[in-house]
């Protein structure tokens, strides 16, 4: 016998959970409610896609290595060796 139907969450509640969902901060029940809503609601699904895209970009950052970073690496390597030989 199937589980009794739970009351689905509305768009307001779902949108309020988008970030906590993407951060892995929802309880199992909250996550399930959110995913059920998302599967049925195109607008919230698009909102979720937007937020996920943004958070992925924030997490990744600008990974292009610059000449300045390479120069800094050498500068710090030299400082480490100086520091090590001093101690």
């Amino acid at each position: 016998m199937s589980e009794p139907d739970k009351k689905p969450i509305d768009c307001g509640k779902a949108l309020g959970r988008v970030w906590a969902y993407l951060d892995g901060e929802l309880s199992a029940e909250e996550r399930e409610e959110f995913e059920v809503h998302l599967a049925r609601c195109w607008k919230c699904s698009r909102s979720h896609d937007f937020e996920r895209r943004l958070l992925d970009a924030i997490r990744q950052g600008d990974t292009r290595t610059t000449a300045e970073t390479e120069a800094l690496t050498e500068q710090i390597r030299a400082a480490i060796r100086r520091h090590s030989s001093d101690s």
């Binding site: 951060d23 896609d49 990744q60 600008d62 400082a79």
Partner: protein
Amino acid sequence: MIQLATCTPRAVVSDAPRSKTEDFEGATLPWLPDVRRYALRLTGDPADADDLVQMTFLNALTGWHTFRPGSDVRRWLFAICRNAFLRNRSRQARTVATEESDLDAIAAARAVFGEQGDGALAALDRIDLPEAIDAAIAKLPEVYRLAVLMVDVDGLSYDEAAREAEVPIGTVRSRLYRARRLLQEDLLRQAEDLGLARGAE
């Protein structure tokens, strides 16, 4: 002999028969570009960021004996970098005048996409997102910037970030959501300045 070129930075932290300095360099220097990006996001200034990176690596060298093999070198370096940054500026700057409630933060979370619709998604495709995000993070008030860095970049949970910042978990959530709202607004403004956001709808 471990081949450094074929090892991940974490894998280098092993029982290799190397000097302490070589071991340290092999484990930490591959993360320097990440630490520099992190420092740049913290300080918003390239020269200050470079000073902070140097301080981070020298502090890390001093504390290398406390590093637990097998744990996350990148996260360890980020924590040292963040602590060095926090120690080097006034405590007063750590507080914001008003903390927003969770409800405000949740309302903020809803707003941007609702206002912009699919134009917002299209805008993200058309701007130089990594560069735009770094510029937007640099403009955030410090407590918001720290919340984004701890949760989104370090990967701390809300609870871990709250303990690290010594604030209630609701404050972390509130700062984080507010920061993301500000970032979104800034990115969409940057896209609009290029004529990309609303026109894309």
